[in-house]
């Protein structure tokens, strides 16, 4: 199809950088999938195609690289909260929380019960709104716009609640080391949250009918992008993608944090490991998340302060934790989101290294799963892996 004339020296250079593919014979051609594309967000995959089949895929990330880790080294501990939450846009509470947890561990703070409860609620709300966002993305990519539109509208309910709790719609800057920034607004907010949970519980039926029980959705996803258990472990696949291959690993159960040890919930596991299994695992998790939120609301917020009492918090810009390092991770909707924070005793972190789940899902796993797939499967695989480009780029 498109034969590209590339000068020899450029070809050599490209080979060196391994960024571009070149047609080797007449039957194959290269296709730039993204970044200006509806399915990929700001992320590019270079596909070497043979007709409608993909022979080889090369992921080209980096469009969203802002050098967070460098910037975090240049800012004080508490200022960093306003920065690092931008790593994971649909679920901005996750980076806040892991960073706060890691700093808590370095300092040795015991976060008050009430703050832990609030953090758990915020994380679960973030998970729920991210699920809604995922339904939207998945629906749009397989061509079912109705489900997506509904889901995005339901997400707005959580956005409103977040706005009332934290003051921000998307970026909340709410969880800080030692607790949370402010208390819950009052019982009315809790009632609204309960209403929203009840409302969404009713709406899950609609989603089942239109999306999760849809014959064509099954056709599109069944047997597409299959990975087995061993492959998944070797490629550090986490979250729902790993659970779809039969490994019941959930950070909330296996490395419990915050309020989760006191909550009852199940970890849904399927064995097939294809896109359909990944979709259905997510479907079951939504139910579990709603159930968790309900339990948390039944417990009610424990009384007490929402912030650690510490003299050092009086002068925040000069706040200095002791020397040390810590690794904290939580279960986000995309998988295991972790951070490794190193402190050298000054008022800025010496190193903060983030581990986004898409670092494994979006590069090696994606490249492997795309081999031999059809072009129409690319969005399906991308979305069922729940690839989030800023995780890779940071």
């Amino acid at each position: 199809m498109t034969n590209i004339e590339v000068p020899k020296e450029l070809r050599e250079e490209a080979k060196q950088h391994d960024m571009y593919l070149h047609p080797i014979d007449k039957d194959t051609y290269e296709l730039f999938f993204g970044p200006q594309h509806m399915a990929t967000e700001n992320f590019s995959i270079i596909l070497k195609m043979d007709g409608n089949r993909i022979e080889r895929a090369i992921v080209n990330p980096g469009f969203l690289h802002r050098g967070f880790e460098k910037l975090a080294e240049q800012r004080p501990y508490f200022t960093n909260i306003a920065l690092i939450l931008r790593i994971c846009v649909p679920e901005s509470d996750v980076p806040e929380n892991i960073y706060s947890m890691a700093v808590d561990e370095i300092v040795g703070w015991e976060v008050p019960e009430r703050a832990q409860w609030i953090r758990t609620v915020v994380l679960e709300m973030a998970r729920m709104s991210a699920w809604m966002f995922w339904i939207m993305g998945f629906g749009n990519e397989i061509g079912l716009y109705t489900a997506g539109q509904w889901a995005a509208a339901y997400r707005e309910r959580f956005m409103r609640l977040f706005e009332e709790l934290t003051g921000g719609r998307v970026y909340h800057i709410y969880t800080v080391p030692g607790g949370v920034r402010r208390d819950i607004p009052g019982d009315k907010w809790l009632r609204q949250l309960r209403d929203t949970v009840e409302y969404l519980k009713g709406k899950m039926k609609d989603f089942d009918e239109i999306l999760f029980d849809n014959y064509i959705m099954f056709e599109r996803t069944e047997g597409v992008g299959v990975m087995d258990r061993k492959f998944a472990l070797k490629h550090a696949v986490t979250g729902p993608n790993l659970r779809a291959t039969g490994v019941p690993y959930d950070v909330r159960k296996d490395d419990p944090y915050l309020y989760y040890p006191e909550l009852e919930f199940e970890v849904p596991v399927l064995k097939e490991g294809d896109s359909l299994a990944r979709v259905l695992v997510r479907r079951y998790e939504m139910e579990q998340d709603l159930y968790i939120l309900e339990q948390l609301l039944d417990m009610g917020p424990p009384s007490g302060p929402y912030m650690v009492k510490d003299a050092r918090l009086k002068a925040l810009p000069r706040f200095k934790p002791p020397k040390g390092d810590a690794y904290a991770h939580v279960e986000s909707t995309k998988g295991d989101f972790g951070v490794y924070v190193v402190s050298d005793g000054t008022h800025k972190p010496y190193r903060a290294h983030f581990r986004g789940p898409s670092q494994s899902h979006g590069v090696t796993v994606l490249e492997e799963l795309l081999k031999g797939a059809r072009l129409a499967d690319v969005p399906v695989i991308l979305k069922t892996l729940d690839n989030c480009p800023p995780d890779i780029d940071r």
């Binding site: 450029l10 571009y20 200006q36 594309h37 700001n42 469009f63 910037l71 939207m136 539109q149």
Partner: protein, 201 residues
């Protein structure tokens, strides 16, 4: 900025990029342009997350005839949703040049204005207006959906009174923009990279 003014003075009266073909229907076209802005679906930064709420039930910008379109050739409105890295900027410039006149750019958030929170980042473009012409910029990080709607209304107003002339500025001051782009990316980046993305042109 002073450089730019000089360029404009030089070009004044020499080249005019008015639409000559259908002068009679121009008011009609202006109205149509205002009422039907198609957005190029290019999610360039974190502001892309406010696009779905805008397109769905709560805000619903399709009321005003705005809809996302996957093909840049048909697009009118380029939303720069957030910070721009040099790697993205290359693609933005190419996509912008693929769009057909008249075309408008709405910069979304503080980052395209002066870098925002990434003011000291080595990989974020600080002042986007140096590389491509921006018609309306919305401050804030991140701007609420209402603010984006307000920005779009502002673009509509500017289209109506003819001041949304970024595309004309780009043509008139092409050398200025080209110089800035080449300074950032190095000479010959078009031949080297862009040629490969758009092999068929």
């Amino acid at each position: 900025m002073s450089e730019m003014k000089e360029m404009r003075n030089e070009n004044d009266g020499v080249i005019s990029y008015e639409l000559q073909e259908f002068k009679l229907f121009e008011p009609l076209f202006k109205w149509a342009r205002k009422k039907s802005l198609w957005i190029v679906a290019f999610c360039t930064g974190c502001g892309g997350i406010e696009m779905p709420p805008l397109a769905t039930a709560r805000y619903d910008f399709e009321r005003f005839g705005i809809m996302p379109n996957p093909a840049p050739r048909m697009g009118d409105l380029f939303l720069i949703t957030g910070y721009v890295t040099p790697k993205t900027l290359k693609r933005i410039i190419i996509t912008y040049e693929m769009m057909q006149d008249p075309k408008y750019i709405l910069a979304h958030g503080s980052c395209p204005i002066n870098g925002g929170v990434y003011w000291d980042s080595y990989n974020v473009v600080k002042q986007l207006d140096k590389y491509i012409p921006i018609d309306v910029a919305i401050a804030g990080c991140m701007p609420r959906a209402e603010a984006v709607m307000d920005g779009i209304m502002e673009i509509m107003r500017k289209i109506e009174d003819g001041t949304a002339d970024g595309w004309k500025r780009y043509r008139e001051n092409y050398e200025y923009y080209r110089k800035n782009q080449d300074e950032l990316f190095g000479e010959g980046w078009r031949e080297k990279d862009a040629r490969r993305w758009l092999a068929w042109i």
